[in-house]
Structures are given as structure tokens and as C-alpha cells.
């Protein structure tokens, strides 16, 4: 059970300091980070923070799957920057930089777009890192200790185990249907691939319920876990130090208005050209990719 649920998730084994911290300490660290990162209005700082998370991922030895997880955010980041650059969602005045075809790019828009992209990348990077160094079973064992109902933890762990099994089944079903002449994509393929999966899942419900019954699920005895989670002195140190750092940085950042140069920052023309070029190419490439996939 422990192995399956670990393999399915982003968790990557290792023995770094981050791996050894108590899961709840890590969750708290993440929440503190998000509280500080969300109001930050400086793209430079946000991108540096995302970079810091990447360096931490290298140091803890989880970089490969970290990169894979971050890739999913890239299309969204391009779209965010693209929308804001050309149609800033902030009140005017907007100072124009240049015109690309029918579109006009603005200084405020480019700045705000980079803030959005940087924010999602920084937040995503830290959240991903924490998930990668936390064993899901450890997380739920420590959640049980703070009185989260057992059934919720149980259901989440069962879900995590079922997903790879059902995915494998779905792949088999799709391949089997394709060998019978089903089209490889498109809406007509939906029903032939979904229905067999539902049928087998419903059978699984019956089997699992019976095996739970046979193993006395819901008995009132004390439940134990294969994995032990401890709270060590290091956890207390990390919690106290991180809380102090969080409060100090909020005070400091607030004094400097969260380094917000939205209204004053002017991009040099060369830099703006490169940035807008990258953003536009990224977004148009993404759009072309989606259109190609959908229409076949």
C-alpha cells in the first residue's frame, strides 16, 4: 500500500533536511511562503523566488520531476502574460510601448502580466517542492494526529492508489477499442472508452467493499500505521524561525509597498521587444497546438 501510493504521486524519495521535517511543519512553511508571495508586486523578485525553489529542488535531488511538474504551468503563464500585456486588467492610464498588428502593448500591462506569470510560477514551484518531499501517507498520518477524521485520510489514500490502476485500465481500453477500429481522437471516441471503464470501476466498488468488510473496517479498535511520523526539536526551531522571518518580511515589504513599480516602471525598448516577442510566440504557439489537437 505504501509503495503504490508513493509511486503514483509526485513524491520523490530522498534524505535531505526537507524530507526529514514533519509534514505539518512543511505545510506550515508553505502557507507562510504563500502569504508573503501572493501580494508581492515585483516580477523580478517573483522570478528569483521561482529560481530559488528550483535550486532547492536540485539540492534535495528532486529536480527531474520538479521540472516535469512546472512544465504544466508554462502554457498558463504565457497566456497570463499575453492577456495582461495587450489588455491590462487595471484602470487606465496605460502607457503604450508598441503596436503589433492590431494589438497595442502597454508598460503597465507587460509589468502586470509578468507579475501574474511570476506569481504563479513562484507559488507553483514552492508548492510543488513541498509535495515532492512529503510522503502522502506521512501527511495523512500527521493529519490524523491533529484530529482529522480517519475516513477522510483513508479515502484520499485509496483514491491515490486507485488512480494509477484506473489509468492503466483506461489506456488498455482505448488501445483495445482502437484495435477494433475506433478513431484515436475526437468526440466519437468518448463513449466507447468511458463506458467499459465505468463498468469495471463499479465492479471494483463491490470487490473493495467486500474486502473492507472482511478486514473489519469501521471497528473501534486503535488503528496503527506502517509509517511513523515524529515531531523533532528541529521542527520547533523551523516553525519559530520561519514565523519570525515571515512577520519581519511582511513588515519590511509593507514599508516598501511590496516593491510595486506598476505605475512608474518603464521598460527599455529592447527589453520590451524581447519580452513581448517571447510572450507572443509562446501564446500563439500554444494556441496553434491546441487548435491542431482539437481539429485533428
Amino acid at each position: 500500500m505504501v509503495q503504490t501510493s508513493a509511486r503514483a504521486t509526485l513524491y520523490t524519495p530522498g534524505d535531505s533536511v526537507l524530507h526529514k521535517l514533519n509534514p505539518l511543519t512543511k505545510v506550515m512553511l508553505l502557507i507562510e511562503l504563500l502569504i508573503v508571495v501572493f501580494p508581492l508586486m515585483n516580477p523580478f523578485i517573483l522570478f528569483v523566488l521561482a529560481g530559488v525553489a528550483a535550486v532547492l529542488a536540485i539540492l534535495t535531488g528532486v529536480f527531474k520531476s520538479f521540472l516535469k511538474g512546472m512544465m504544466i504551468l508554462i502554457p498558463a503563464a504565457f497566456a497570463m502574460a499575453f492577456f495582461q500585456t495587450f489588455w491590462p486588467a487595471i484602470p487606465p492610464p496605460h502607457r503604450p510601448i508598441m503596436t503589433v498588428g492590431p494589438l497595442t502593448a502597454y508598460h503597465e500591462g507587460l509589468y502586470y502580466g509578468l507579475v501574474f506569470a511570476g506569481r504563479i510560477l513562484a507559488m507553483g514551484a514552492f508548492a510543488l517542492l513541498i509535495v515532492q518531499v512529503t510522503h502522502p501517507v506521512d501527511l495523512f498520518v500527521s493529519l490524523l494526529k491533529i484530529k482529522i477524521p480517519y475516513i477522510i485520510g483513508f479515502m484520499t489514500l485509496v483514491t491515490l492508489q486507485l488512480i494509477p490502476i484506473l489509468m492503466k485500465e483506461a489506456t488498455t481500453i482505448i488501445q483495445a477499442q482502437q484495435s477494433r477500429g475506433m478513431k484515436a481522437r475526437g468526440l466519437t471516441a468518448l463513449i466507447p472508452s468511458m463506458i467499459p471503464l465505468f463498468a469495471s470501476s463499479m465492479e471494483r466498488v463491490q470487490q473493495l467493499a467486500m474486502s473492507l468488510e472482511a478486514r473489519a473496517f469501521g471497528s473501534s479498535g486503535k488503528k496503527t500505521s506502517l509509517r511513523e511520523v515524529r515531531v523533532r526539536p528541529l521542527d520547533y526551531v523551523v516553525i519559530i524561525v520561519s514565523l519570525v522571518i515571515m512577520v519581519l518580511s511582511i513588515v519590511y515589504l509593507n514599508e516598501h509597498n511590496w516593491f510595486n513599480y506598476l505605475r512608474t516602471f518603464t521598460f527599455p525598448l529592447e527589453l520590451a521587444t524581447v519580452l513581448i516577442g517571447v510572450i507572443t510566440v509562446g501564446f500563439v504557439g500554444m494556441a496553434a497546438y491546441f487548435l491542431m489537437r482539437m481539429t485533428g
Binding site: 479515502m155 466498488v205 491546441f290
Partner: protein
């Protein structure tokens, strides 16, 4: 809740919720493999909120998004709110009799699409700057160029695929519920009709959903 717990064994609840959550995640996976312009990540939620009750549906939705957070990336955790609100709409919709016949089911699908999209738009706008990271972004750009506000553009570009998505989810859920043992499905009124008619309704509903999705593709491609 009391009535339900008498008739449905607790082990079934403990198993149905995880299987439903896994169906949610795998539904999203299949859609991705087949390159479809819908999400289909709420079918399991629909099943549990009908069979067990709205709040078990909410739990299914939250567990689904927790699993996605642990499997893909935790930034998608806020969308648990969409899944939860969908469970409440479908669950309480079933309680006031919206699962009785075909037109009401269709209505339930349409209502849920509007409510769930209204929940998703603020998340897209405040957390993701209006971007979704998938096909709907193309339409958003078109609406923005036509002079729409960001949140209007995001809503308009998402509502059509959401309509197709929720109608499909509702009728696929009808098919699943129909396949469940009678002790589990006694709360879902449509299953009291002859099985063949239920299957026919489901197929008509799915065809409507597919037609809407195809319309969306054609509209985007233009």
C-alpha cells in the same frame, strides 16, 4: 442522512467516494488522451452526490482536487471550490426532483454549468490572470480584442465548453447510477423508469453534449 446510513453499508461509502474521485481524475486523463475540448472531471462527483447526498459529493470533489494537487501541481487546489459547488447544485437539485425526467436533467446540467463557471471565473481572474492554460484561452483573446472586460471574456469563453461538459457529466453519471445495485440508487428518481428508457435518455443527453462540444470546436477554429 440517517435514512441513508440505514440502507447503505458504511463500507460502500468508504469505497464509492474514492472510486468516484479516481473516475474524476481518470476522466480528465481520457479527455486529454482523446484530445477533447471538455474536462469531464466531475462525473464521479455527480454520482456520489446523487447516491450518497450533496455533502459526500463535496467530499469527493475536495479529495479529487487534493489528489490532483499531489499528482500534478498544488496550484490547482483552489478549483476544489468548483467541484464542491457542483456537488451542492447536483445534490440539492436531485432532492428537489430535478433528476425525475429527461428535460429536468438537461435543465440541471445547464444550471450547474452556469453556477460552476461563475465559481471558476474569479479563480481564473485573480489567481491566473484570466488564463486557463488550455483551449479556452484562444476564445478569451478573441473576446478581449472585441473590447470585452477580462472577466466577461473569461466567462464567455468558458461557458460553452462548460455547458457541453456538465451536460455530458450529468448523463454519463445517469449511466453509472443505472449500473449500480438497487440499494444504492434508490434516491435517484430517474432510475425508477424502465432501464431501456433511462439508457435512451442518457444517450440523447450525451449526443446533445457532444454536439455542443463540436460546436465549440468549430467556433474556436474560425
Amino acid at each position: 442522512m440517517g435514512e441513508m446510513l440505514e440502507r447503505i453499508p458504511p463500507t460502500y461509502i468508504a469505497v464509492l467516494v474514492p472510486v468516484a474521485a479516481a473516475i474524476n481524475v481518470v476522466g480528465g486523463y481520457i479527455v486529454n488522451v482523446l484530445h477533447l475540448p471538455v474536462f469531464l472531471d466531475m462525473i464521479g462527483t455527480c454520482v456520489t452526490c446523487w447516491v450518497l447526498g450533496p455533502w459526500w459529493g463535496v467530499l469527493t470533489g475536495v479529495i479529487t482536487n487534493l489528489a490532483i494537487a499531489l499528482l500534478v501541481n498544488p496550484v490547482y487546489l483552489p478549483f476544489a471550490a468548483c467541484n464542491a459547488i457542483g456537488a451542492l447544485v447536483w445534490g440539492y437539485g436531485a432532492k428537489i426532483g430535478l433528476t425525475k425526467d429527461f428535460p429536468r436533467l438537461l435543465l440541471l446540467g445547464i444550471i450547474s454549468a452556469f453556477i460552476i463557471t461563475s465559481m471558476a471565473v474569479p479563480i481564473y481572474v485573480f489567481v491566473f490572470g484570466g488564463a486557463t492554460g488550455h483551449f479556452a484561452d484562444i476564445m478569451t483573446a478573441v473576446y478581449l480584442q472585441m473590447g470585452a472586460q477580462l472577466w466577461v471574456a473569461v466567462f464567455s469563453s468558458n461557458i460553452l465548453s462548460s455547458l457541453a461538459d456538465k451536460i455530458l457529466a450529468v448523463f454519463l453519471a445517469v449511466l453509472i447510477v443505472e449500473a449500480l445495485p438497487p440499494t444504492l440508487r434508490y434516491r435517484v428518481e430517474i432510475t425508477k423508469q424502465p432501464p431501456l428508457r433511462v439508457v435512451m435518455y442518457a444517450i440523447i443527453g450525451i449526443v446533445i453534449g457532444v454536439a455542443l462540444a463540436a460546436g465549440f470546436v468549430i467556433l474556436t477554429a474560425k
